[in-house]
């Protein structure tokens, strides 16, 4: 059954529907792999074996009586900042170490027939880009266990890359789906802001956060998107936008599509990374797209806007973790002592909360935050103008390949690593990272970005690319 991990979601779905494979068998297979590589990769915070098998049995049982949705019975790994009943939701923080949510996230509801393999590791409260800030230890990159998987959805990317889960859910605030997807050689899709309900996603920066799938291909992502997108009346920021048939979007090729390559975003990358992405653009040109250079001449603006918005919203969103109602509770004679001793966040979270609190207080407040929003809107307007010159922006996902675990990074420099992914969050755009090569044996990601609600364009370009190449089908040697 070793070949199961190489099957697409559509193929697995067919096997399940034809009852040549049961969900229990498939789930057991992935549970076994998950356990096997957990020690090396540390992708999971909790493996929910009983929960997974119970759902698998339910799916198998239901299938004897009725036709089930396409993805039913296929197991999933969920980032541990998305709540699911019956499993802890820790956000990789000691603060929520034993917290169990009494309700399911909207996406978990929508995937109710998908066995939950477990809750996967992340940077504490999704703040970070290397997965080293998890209170439950770092995730290791299956391509090189001495390297980071990226973050914050590092666990989501690593378990898919290692064949421990056929697909996973992550969340993307400044690149948290795309960058780890690039580092781990999988496909990571951040939908348009509002496409997927945020209900049940533990908020980091509410106006930037978006849930999306990580899987082994664009075609797999299309199926997952179909299952999780759609208006949710219980999320006031959820879009009342019709959900297209994403599978049908895969049919069209790239002939006549205009691809824009932001010059500055190649210049700031490692040569091999930039080279691999440029080469991908050339091949898409051969497939019928037109390719030309455009300009995204902002850098500090991107980091500034992101820092102000994300930290201010985070400081607000994390205010509820006060030890009073749930989560870790410290000791104290007075209320202040109780608060102080209960807020045991790690250094990165603490730094961002202080920054955010500062951005919201004092004389210049809320000017600081508003300024961030204004900058973000200016960047969004500029991106709109670019989309009059091209249909899809094509650029690297991250300036480098996965870096080593032991390197200590300057916090500010690390924000600049997200400079290629942040603009899509600031503008609420859909964007995807697809594997497009290897550099020193490590995956390189190509990022595609489209106007709001034009996921179809990303699926077209991404799928065409994956039909032409096999980068997305490669396995890290250590787990194959």
């Amino acid at each position: 059954m070793n070949e199961l991990k190489s099957l697409s979601l559509a193929e697995l779905s067919e096997l399940l529907a034809a009852r040549k494979l049961s969900s229990v068998e498939l789930t057991s297979y992935y549970l076994e792999r998950s356990r096997k590589y957990q020690k090396d990769i540390n992708g999971y915070i909790t493996i929910t074996e009983d929960l997974a098998l119970a759902t698998a049995r339910r799916a198998d049982e239901l299938r004897t009586r009725e036709e089930l949705p396409l993805l039913a019975g296929i197991p999933v790994a969920v980032k541990d900042n998305i709540v699911a009943r019956g499993a802890p939701t820790t956000c990789a923080s000691r603060v929520l170490e034993n917290y169990v949510s009494p309700f399911d996230a909207a996406v978990v509801e929508k995937l109710s027939l998908n066995p939950l393999l477990g809750k996967v590791n992340l940077d504490e409260f999704a703040m970070g880009a290397d997965n080293k800030t998890s209170a439950f230890g770092p995730v290791r990159n299956p391509w090189d266990l001495q390297r980071v998987p990226g973050g914050s959805s590092g666990g989501s990317a690593a378990v898919v890359a290692a064949g421990c889960a056929p697909f996973s859910l992550g969340s993307d605030t400044g690149g948290s789906i795309r960058q780890p997807a690039a580092f781990c050689g999988v496909t990571g899709f951040k939908p348009t802001y509002g496409r997927v309900s945020r209900r049940g996603l533990v908020a980091f920066a509410s106006s930037l956060d978006q849930i999306g799938p990580l899987a082994r291909s664009i075609a797999d992502c299309a199926l997952v998107l179909q299952a999780i997108c759609g208006h949710d009346p219980a999320d006031a920021t959820s879009a009342r936008q019709e959900v297209p048939d994403f599978r049908a979007c895969l049919q069209a090729d790239v002939r006549g599509l205009r691809l824009g390559l932001p010059r500055e975003n190649f210049a700031c990358c490692d040569e091999e990374v930039a080279g691999a992405v440029e080469e991908a653009a050339r091949q898409l040109e051969l497939a019928g797209a037109t390719v030309h250079w455009v300009s995204m001449p902002y850098r500090d603006e991107v980091v500034t806007a992101y820092l102000l918005i994300a930290t201010a919203e985070a400081a607000s969103n994390l205010a509820r973790f006060d030890g009073v109602k749930y989560g870790y509770r410290g000791q104290g004679q007075t209320l202040d002592e109780l608060y102080t001793s209960s807020r045991i966040f790690g250094a990165t979270v603490r730094r961002r909360l202080m920054l955010g609190t500062f951005a919201l207080s004092g004389e210049d407040c809320p000017a600081c935050y508003e300024q961030g929003l204004r900058l973000g809107r200016a960047i969004a307007r500029h991106l709109d103008s670019l989309f009059r010159q091209c249909d899809v922006l094509l650029l690297p996902t991250a300036p480098t390949v996965a870096f080593t675990l032991d390197g200590e990074q300057d916090p500010l420099a690390s924000y600049y690593n997200d400079i290629l992914t942040i603009p899509a969050n600031l503008a609420g755009l859909p964007a995807v990272s697809v594997p497009c090569g290897l550099s020193s044996g490590l995956p390189v990601g190509m990022q595609l970005m489209a106007p709001r609600f034009r996921e179809d364009l990303l699926l077209r370009v991404g799928h065409t690319w994956q039909c032409l190449t096999d980068w997305h089908q490669r396995w890290p040697r250590e787990v194959n």
């Binding site: 709540v83 908020a203 920021t237 205010a319 809320p366 935050y369």
Partner: protein, 465 residues
């Protein structure tokens, strides 16, 4: 001499079936933490969804206070740490739902600076051992109404607040029960004199009309004394201590710090269309309009009308009695007198305005005396029933039959020739004696006016014989 400059911040709990951002019930008095959900507990991942009913109620309030309604208003998070604030912030509005209102109270006018929607916090219950928190109240919809500092005396402040309560009650916006916390008031006060103004002091915890009036009066005295001694008034937040009959310092304003307002990223701006605003402006009759109508249409005195409109239930009772056929002025007298008294005693009224209308009609026809009618009403209040039957069963039916009473009068006169003689010689007491005899012969059921007329007639007839 100093003049007080007073502004009020009033919090009114809106009457809605569910909370402001979730579907939990707003019922008062439920067991602690029985009306809660992930949203109003601030659990991780929970998101707010605005309750349209609360918006409608707030819009009604804005219309009733003659405010300008903002087509676009925005929500914001106001941060502070306290255990009864489950999210670490309260969702309120920065660009308010409405601004620039006015309430005309005749003798003075109150300008409303702003009116906005916000959510209530839970309730901390302090015991000697620990503090307990009940989150049933967390997320209950409130409106905050902020007046301009245009009030000059504690009495004005009280009159305004009482009138505000009436408006809210009349428009069905809130039940405004101060004792249940559905109407809460904070006051800002400073003194203005020839040398300028003192710092503004905020007084919280004014949980009755009386407390508000007394706290303000106390502050005026305290601050005047400080000024007289040449001392400065500190900008502070005070709390009214009802038992000690004084204000005590809660915190100095400096310590309070910023609330770090953040535009609420989970809620898009509230955009109102013309239809919603037009709907809100269709208000039921408000207290002052009703007072004018009571005077104009029913001929009530200003004083009676004022008392009636101040008690909505009595006013409704009065109108229902009139609708059932009672003449307005006696109906007002009965409602303000007996009905109000009986309600106070029995706390509810098992009889209807129609019962009262029939009783008033009976007294006017002379079928029962006023005193008898009061007895009937007492019985009605106690166990309900049919007014006519009670009159009969208590033997209170008044005899107004001319023939029957004329016979009684003749008999009384015939049986008491001495008294008749005394009366003729100018002794008024003799008439009272004869009336008493006649009343006794009627077993106390004669209509007194008619009986008096017939006794005098019988005396005159006897003379002619």
């Amino acid at each position: 001499m100093y003049e007080a400059v007073i502004g009020l911040e009033v919090h009114v709990e809106l009457l809605t079936r569910t909370k402001l951002f979730c579907r939990c019930s707003t019922r008062f008095g439920a067991p602690p933490n029985s009306q809660v959900c992930p949203v109003c507990l601030g659990l991780p991942g929970a998101l707010p969804v605005l309750n349209g009913e609360a918006v409608d109620q707030a819009l009604k309030a804005a219309a009733a206070l003659n405010c300008r309604i903002n087509r676009i208003s925005t929500f914001a998070r106001k941060h502070y740490f306290y255990p009864d604030q489950p999210k670490g912030y309260q969702i309120t509005q920065t660009r308010p739902l409405a601004e620039g209102g006015r309430v005309d109270l005749g003798a003075f006018q109150v300008n409303i600076a702003r009116l906005h929607l916000e959510e209530d916090a839970g309730k901390s219950i302090h015991t000697p051992e620990c503090t307990l928190v009940d989150y049933n109240r967390s997320g209950i919809p409130l409106i905050e109404i902020v007046t301009e500092p245009c009030l000059r005396t504690p009495a004005q402040a009280r009159e305004f607040l009482e009138h505000l309560r009436l408006i809210m009650e009349y428009a069905g916006i809130s039940d405004c029960k101060m004792e249940e916390g559905s109407l809460r008031c904070d006051a800002n006060i400073s003194l203005r004199g020839p040398g300028g103004s003192t710092a503004v002091v905020e007084i919280k915890n004014l949980n009755s009309f009386r407390a508000m009036e007394r706290a303000l009066a106390y502050e005026i005295r305290r601050q005047s004394r400080l000024l007289a001694q040449g001392k400065a008034v500190a900008a502070q937040t005070l709390r009214w201590d009802e038992a000690a009959n004084r204000t005590v310092v809660m915190r100095s304003k400096e310590e309070a710090g910023g609330y770090r307002y953040l535009p609420e990223p989970d809620l898009p701006p509230l955009i109102l269309d013309e239809a919603a605003i037009a709907r809100a402006c269709r208000l039921p009759e408000l207290p002052l309009a009703r007072k004018a109508r009571f005077i104009g249409a029913y001929g009530l005195s200003e004083a009676d009308a004022l008392i009636l409109i101040g008690d909505r239930m009595l006013a409704d009772w009065f109108e229902a009695a009139v609708a059932a056929g009672a003449r307005p002025r006696p109906a007002a007298n009965w409602v303000l007198g007996e009905v109000a008294r009986l309600r106070k005693e029995t706390r509810h009224l098992p009889f209807t305005p129609a019962d009262l209308a029939r009783l008033i009609d009976m007294t006017e026809r002379g079928a029962v005396s006023v005193a008898g009618a009061k007895k009937v009403l007492a019985v009605l209040a106690e166990r309900g029933g049919d007014p006519e039957q009670i009159v009969h069963s208590l033997g209170l039916a008044q005899v107004s039959d001319r023939e029957q009473l004329a016979e009684v009068a003749r008999q009384a006169v015939a049986e008491n020739p001495d008294a008749v003689r005394d009366y003729r010689s100018g002794k008024d007491r003799a008439l009272r004696f004869l009336l008493g005899k006649a009343m006794k012969l009627s077993r106390g059921r004669a209509n007194p006016q008619l009986l008096r007329e017939l006794v005098l007639q019988a005396i005159a007839d006897a003379e002619r014989l």
